[in-house]
Every structure is written in structure tokens, then in C-alpha cells.
């Protein structure tokens, strides 16, 4: 690849980057939509708070390091950090490259411009380097600023920023090349699903690795290390002088400790190798593309997409036909589209990661409370967490799920209230089923006494139905019908209100139960009676809140022009 083409690619990458920034600004600051502006301001405030927190923690750690003498092998630590970051880079590059090749509509536009294919593909990679720079700075900028100020050397910040741009070159280029091979084997039209699977694997992988290796989380039921001092993780391979992570780690250590010559040496090795990889990778990518690796994919009939069962689901007993057909249709949409499926499979998986590994310890803690309502209520905690996840994933998006297809319902002779009714069933059925299952399981394991267990489970069931209906109502008020990406189905304000609604319902329940227990103790009232009364008030309140919200959302939807 000639330097001219390479320069053209870098120029194109910078142009694409500017365009993306412009689009971001147009959609946010310049959108003139109060809701979006508010979201931007709220996001900025949250970011500033988190940055301030990171800055303070770094400053405190720095001050502590001056008081206590300890030995840290900086090159080793940084090498390990960069090595771990490589995992993130591999996954994110895979997602980004597949996205760019399979889903982004602008690839054809770019390739039809009078620019060499190599330059276009190189430009895409440059965009990715810049994105990753931004991401790295997002997480580490405050720490770097504090370190630069403490050392009185702004070059620390510049040096790290340079490393952040250059280090991703290796994985990004290699993965981009690999993606071109991979694309050939992805059936036409399945790109979105493959990208979703990879994104999920990335999210789960990061969480699992964090759970298993993070020293702060190491004291878990999975790896009990009684009396063992927390230690930093290590992997000798990461700091090898033959790997980019070793070069970047040594360079970073040099920058931080003020050994600039050493830092420069290792940086130059990294920059030189990365430049070669970038040039060769862009050249090979162009060759592969021109050889028809993507275009050669035959437009085959997708056997996987064919529904083999000939007996279709007829109807759901006791439900009206329109409601039943919407519930079945929604179920099919949610389970056949991987991106949708993930929305209600992920909470369950995360719940398992969160509780599964620690289940024995948690259970023994709750069981130590003995029989009674307190143990029964604590046993509902996993159900409530599951309820929050599922009701917000399914309920808040139930109406928005229709998306551009809303015209089908809008053109049909059915009322808005019936749509909401159907959406409540559609979201509540799986939520109530899952919540009930978890509640029964935990109560069965905890064994707080049959009366307490049965009533607590009944409360969980009612709460699941009511909270889900409440979420459907909130989602309907902020319904989005113009989404193309599943992630954009949920309006941020709806998300916030949903969380507030959930905690109001559950918090009120908890409060009522605490009051019931206190009353029973203080006034010597029968515990079962006060307990049942509090449950009745809790359930009634939740149902009333949901019904009111549904009526409000119906009137809101009626005013909307659907379609």
C-alpha cells in the first residue's frame, strides 16, 4: 500500500470521525428537543461526578503511596493492563468490523466514491482507533490529569493518549482482516444477530472475568481464600518484550516514572510495528474486498429462518382473540430476534452471575434468621431484582416493540385500551412466570414457614403483574416507534420513571411490612393478622398505581397519531 493511499485513508478516517461527531452534536446539543438537552446535561453531570470521584481516589492513593513504602513492578502491572485491554479490543473490533461490513449502510456510499478500497477500509480503522482513544480517556482521564499535575508534567497525559491511539492498531487491524474472512460464512441478513451475540459475549465475558479475577471480588463463594491477602493479578506472558502489551506496558511505566528515554524507545517500537501492521492490514483488506470476499456470498435461502412446525399456536385460553394474537406475536418477535431475546435473557443470566456464585453464603445468612416473615421477605430479594430487570426490559418496551409496524394495529378496528391490555399480558406473562418460579424456589430453600412463604410468594406474583403493567403504562407514554436498533426502543425518561415506579411500589411494600411487624411487637397484635393486612395494602396499592398509570397512558396514546 502506497503512503499516498495510506494518507488518504487517514484523511478519510478523520473526515468520518468529524461527521460522526457532527451527527452526535446535531442529535444532542443542537436537537432543540428539551428532553434530549436534559439528558445531555444529566449525562454530563453524572460524568463529571464520576470523574471527580476518580480524581479524588487517585489523589488519595498518590498521597498514601508517599507515606507507605511498597514495591510495585510498574512495567509488569501496565503490561497486564494492556494485555487485559486487548481482550476488550478484540471483541469490540469484531463487533465494530462486522457492523461496518454488514449493517452500516454507508459502506456502499464510501466505496462508490473515487477513493481506493484500501483507503476506505483504512479510514474505517482510523475511526475505530479514535473511538477507542475516546473510550480510554473516558475511563482514565481524571487519573492521568491528577498524575500529570502531581508530577508537574503534562507530558504524562500526552504520552498516555498517544499509547491509547497506537496500542489498538494491532488487534483492530488483525480482527478487521479476520472479519473479512468471517463475513463470507455469515448467511446474508444474519449480521445483526451475529453482532448481537458477540456483544453479549463481550458483556458477559467482561463481567465474568471481572468477577473471577478482580481482587475486590475475589472473596466470593466461588473462590474462598480465608486469610489470604489480596494481591494484584499477574500473567507473565503479558509483559513479554516480544508482545505489544509488553512494549506498551514498559512505555507507560517509563512515562509515569519519568524515564522518558526508556518510554520513547518502547513507544517507537510500538509505533513502528503498528504502522507496518496498519499499512499491510489495510492493503490486504483492500485486496480481499476486491477479490469479492463479501460480494461472493451467494444470496441463499435461509433454511434456519424457515419455520418447521406446521401447527401454529392457536390462541391463549381465557384471552380475547385480538389480545391473544398480539401476545403470541410479541412472544414470537421477542424469541426469534436475538437482539430482542437478549433483552429478557440477559437479566436472568446476570442474576445468576450476581447470586449464583454466592448462593450458599447468602442462603445460610437468610436461614440464620430462622422462621418468620423477615426471612420470607428477604427470600423475595432475588425475585424483586428479577422483576426490576424483566419488567423494565419487557414492560417499558412493550408498546415501542411495535416500532414502524404500529400502522398495522392503528389501521385495524381496535381501541388503544385493547392494545395496552394486550401489551400488559404480553409483558406480564413471562415476567410473572419467572418471578413466581424464583420466589417459589428461594422460599422452598429458605423454609421460613409455610404461611410466610405462601403469602410472600403471593405478594411477589401480584407485584410482578402490577409492576409490569405500571412499566407498560410508563413505556406507552414515552413510546418510540421510529427505532431501527433494539437498544433505542427504550426512552431514557421512561427508564428513569420505571426505576422510580418500581422502587416506590417495592419500597412501600417493605415499609408497610416493617410497620406491621413493629405494630405486632409493640401492640401485641397477632403477627399473622398484621402481616396479612400489610400484604393486602401492598398488593392493593400496587394494583391501583398500575391501573391509574394505564388509564393515563391510554389517554396519551389516543392523542398520538399512530402510523
Amino acid at each position: 500500500m502506497t503512503p499516498r493511499r495510506l494518507a488518504d485513508g487517514i484523511g478519510l478516517g478523520l473526515m468520518l470521525w468529524r461527521t460522526q461527531l457532527k451527527m452526535f452534536i446535531n442529535q444532542t446539543v443542537r436537537s432543540r428537543k428539551p428532553g434530549r438537552l436534559l439528558a445531555v446535561i444529566a449525562g454530563a453531570v453524572v460524568l463529571l461526578v464520576l470523574w471527580a470521584w476518580e480524581g479524588i481516589v487517585t489523589a488519595l492513593a498518590l498521597a498514601a503511596s508517599h507515606r507507605v513504602s511498597f514495591n510495585i513492578d510498574l512495567p509488569r502491572l501496565f503490561s497486564f493492563g494492556f494485555f487485559a485491554y486487548t481482550g476488550v479490543l478484540i471483541f469490540s473490533s469484531l463487533v465494530f468490523s462486522l457492523n461496518a461490513l454488514l449493517l452500516n449502510p454507508d459502506l456502499d456510499l464510501l466505496l462508490s466514491s473515487p477513493r481506493p478500497v484500501e483507503s476506505v477500509l483504512a479510514g474505517r480503522m482510523v475511526v475505530q482507533f479514535l473511538r477507542l482513544l475516546l473510550l480510554s480517556l473516558l475511563f482514565t482521564l481524571p487519573a492521568l490529569v491528577v498524575l500529570s499535575v502531581a508530577a508537574g508534567n503534562p507530558l504524562i497525559l500526552v504520552g498516555f493518549a498517544a499509547l491509547y491511539v497506537v496500542y489498538p492498531v494491532f488487534p483492530v487491524v488483525i480482527i478487521s482482516l479476520a472479519t473479512l474472512f468471517l463475513v463470507r460464512f455469515i448467511p446474508a441478513g444474519r449480521g445483526k444477530e451475529i453482532v448481537t451475540v458477540l456483544s453479549l459475549a463481550l458483556a458477559l465475558g467482561i463481567n465474568l472475568v471481572n468477577f473471577l479475577f478482580n481482587p475486590a471480588l475475589r472473596d466470593s463463594a466461588l473462590r474462598p481464600r480465608r486469610g489470604a491477602a489480596a494481591s494484584l493479578p499477574d500473567l507473565p506472558l503479558a509483559s513479554s518484550p516480544w508482545l505489544p502489551s509488553g512494549w506498551a506496558g514498559r512505555s507507560a511505566a517509563g512515562i509515569l516514572s519519568g524515564h522518558w528515554l526508556l518510554a520513547l524507545e518502547w513507544s517507537l517500537i510500538l509505533i513502528a510495528a503498528s504502522s507496518v501492521v496498519f499499512a499491510v492490514g489495510a492493503h490486504l483488506s483492500g485486496r480481499l474486498y476486491l477479490a469479492g470476499w463479501i460480494n461472493a456470498v451467494p444470496p441463499r435461502r435461509r433454511h434456519a429462518a424457515v419455520i418447521r412446525s406446521h401447527g401454529s399456536v392457536r390462541a391463549i385460553p381465557l384471552l380475547d382473540r385480538v389480545v391473544s394474537s398480539i401476545v403470541i406475536k410479541d412472544w414470537r418477535m421477542r424469541t426469534r430476534d436475538l437482539a430482542q431475546l437478549a433483552r429478557f435473557a440477559m437479566p436472568v443470566i446476570f442474576l445468576f452471575v450476581l447470586f449464583g456464585f454466592r448462593s450458599s453464603r447468602l442462603l445460610s445468612s437468610v436461614q440464620s434468621l430462622g422462621n418468620g416473615p423477615v426471612a420470607a421477605m428477604l427470600g423475595l430479594l432475588p425475585s424483586w431484582i428479577l422483576l426490576l430487570s424483566l419488567s423494565s426490559a419487557l414492560g417499558l418496551t412493550a408498546v415501542s416493540l411495535e416500532g414502524k409496524n404500529i400502522w398495522i394495529y392503528a389501521a385495524s378496528p381496535n381501541s388503544v385500551l385493547r392494545l395496552l391490555q394486550a401489551k400488559c399480558w404480553s409483558a406480564a406473562l413471562p415476567t410473572v412466570a419467572a418471578v413466581t418460579l424464583v420466589a417459589v424456589m428461594t422460599e422452598a430453600v429458605i423454609r421460613p414457614g409455610w404461611l410466610w412463604a405462601a403469602t410472600a410468594t403471593a405478594l411477589a406474583v401480584v407485584q410482578a403483574a402490577a409492576v409490569t403493567a405500571l412499566m407498560v403504562a410508563i413505556g406507552a407514554v414515552f413510546a418510540r416507534f421510529d427505532w431501527t436498533d433494539v437498544r433505542r426502543m427504550l426512552h431514557p425518561v421512561a427508564g428513569l420513571l420505571g426505576i422510580i415506579g418500581f422502587f416506590t411500589v417495592i419500597g412501600t411494600s417493605a415499609l408497610l411490612m416493617a410497620v406491621a411487624l413493629a405494630l405486632a411487637t409493640a401492640a401485641h397484635l397477632p403477627l399473622a393478622t398484621t402481616w396479612l393486612a400489610s400484604l393486602t395494602f401492598s398488593a392493593g396499592g400496587a394494583i391501583a398505581a398500575a391501573a391509574l398509570a394505564l388509564l393515563l397512558s391510554a389517554s396519551r396514546l389516543q392523542r398520538l397519531e399512530l402510523g
Partner: protein, 254 residues
């Protein structure tokens, strides 16, 4: 069968449709023509009950679309220009869903679905997801869904876009058969030859205002010249001049 009185739709300062008066009888195949952005889709959406008019009224088969929307919609079949369909449903599943939405009795629904899938040549792919369908096939599914509940009025927004010549011909035959049963078709199109050959009456809308309505002969008389094609009448009434296009294109050269 279909009437609109002073139908108006405003979006803030923009008037998309203004004081539209229309009367379409049973058995008519009515063509609704106009340049891009003239207000065709907005009109169809108002008549089909998808958009609320800023003012004015519309009645479908005797039912007011604003005050009796459910009764009116039960008698309407609607096919949008780019039909968004549920990608992860098969054609059969989608038609079953449509039938349920319109309260079509289950056995009748299944019988009609079989007939429509056969009619549109979709039966061998009826169990494939709609995401794998071409635009023309999706258009066929959308039309099949609109016909499933046996509507009295069929609204079609650019129905021939994306259809191959055979399918376009087939659609034309279906629509004509539909009208011969005493039902009404109201459709918008850009393809003036189709409108000229198919429609019993035509209306032309420009800048949201109805500028002409009648049979082809009546439109010819309106512009004061015999033997003109619909294209010439359309260009004359909407004020699009070919000379201007040529001048602009020549200006782009060199």
C-alpha cells in the same frame, strides 16, 4: 362509499392538505395523483384513520372515521407505500395475526389465507420469515393482509412500487376484480400509465390542494385540449415544465 369534506391537515405552519373535498362511489377504481410532497400519503392516512385531520370530516361506508373509527376501519383495507411488517413472522403467521386483528372467523381466515397465498404465488415460501422477502413480496403480503377481512374500501399508497411487471399486472387484475364486486379502490401512484389504463376516475393534488378531479375525458376538457395523455395533463396542471429540467441539466455540464 367514501367522502371527505374540507379535510385539512396542518403541521405547525406547514399545511400538508387543505380543504379537500372528495366523493368516491362504490365500484370505483379511483386514482389519486400528485407530485412528491403534494399530500397524497397524508390524505390516504387521514382517510384510513391513521392521522387525525386538523379540521374537516371523512366518512367510509357511512361511518365517520373520527367518531366511529372502529366501525370505519373494519371496512377498510390499507396498504402503505413501504409496508413495515414484522420481520420475524412468517407470511402465514402475519396473515393469521392480521385476520385476528380484524376479527375474521378462524376457519374463514385460514381458508382466505390459503387462497391469497396461492393467488400471490407466496404459498411455497409462506413459512419463511418476512425478513427474507423482497420488497415486491412484502408488498404482496401487505396487500393480502389488506384483503383478508374482505374490506369495502381499499386504500393503497403507491402499490406498484417494487413490483415486477407480472406482479404489477396481477395487482391491476386483482384491483379491477375487487371493484367489479362493487367495492372501492383508492390508490395513489406516480406511474401515470397505470392510472390512465386502470382508473375510472382520477384526482390530482398539488401543494395540498385538489386541483382536478374527474374521468380522463373530464380532465382533458378541464385543461382544454383533446387527445392529451394523462402525463401531459398532469404536467400542465401541476406546473412542471420539461423545458426547465433541460435548462438545469444543461447548466450542470462543464
Amino acid at each position: 362509499m367514501l367522502s371527505a369534506r374540507l379535510l385539512t391537515k396542518r403541521y405547525g405552519a406547514l399545511t400538508a392538505v387543505e380543504d379537500l373535498d372528495l366523493e368516491v362511489s362504490a365500484g370505483e377504481l379511483f386514482g389519486f395523483l400528485g407530485p412528491n410532497g403534494a399530500g397524497k400519503t397524508t390524505t390516504i392516512k387521514m382517510l384510513a384513520g391513521l392521522l387525525r385531520p386538523t379540521s374537516g370530516t371523512a366518512r367510509i361506508a357511512g361511518f365517520d372515521i373520527l367518531t366511529e373509527p372502529e366501525q370505519a376501519k373494519a371496512r377498510i383495507g390499507y396498504v402503505p407505500d413501504a409496508a413495515a411488517l414484522y420481520d420475524k413472522l412468517s407470511a402465514r403467521e402475519f396473515l393469521e395475526f392480521s385476520g385476528d386483528l380484524y376479527h375474521v372467523e378462524r376457519r374463514l381466515r385460514d381458508r382466505r389465507i390459503n387462497a391469497l397465498l396461492q393467488l400471490f404465488g407466496l404459498h411455497d415460501r409462506e413459512r419463511d420469515f418476512l425478513s427474507g422477502y423482497s420488497r415486491g413480496m412484502r408488498q404482496k403480503v401487505s396487500l393480502a393482509a389488506a384483503l383478508l377481512h374482505d374490506p369495502q374500501v381499499l386504500f393503497l399508497d403507491e402499490p406498484t412500487v417494487g413490483l415486477d411487471p407480472q406482479s404489477a399486472r396481477q395487482m391491476k387484475d386483482i384491483l379491477q376484480d375487487f371493484c367489479q364486486e362493487g367495492k372501492t379502490v383508492f390508490f395513489s401512484t406516480h406511474i401515470l400509465e397505470i392510472a390512465e389504463r386502470m382508473c375510472t376516475r382520477l384526482a390530482i393534488i398539488n401543494h395540498g390542494r385538489l386541483i382536478a378531479i374527474g374521468t380522463l375525458e373530464e380532465l382533458r376538457r378541464q385543461v382544454g385540449s383533446d387527445g392529451q395523455s394523462l402525463e401531459q395533463i398532469f404536467l400542465e396542471l401541476t406546473g412542471s415544465r420539461e423545458d426547465d429540467v433541460g435548462a438545469v441539466l444543461r447548466g450542470l455540464e462543464g
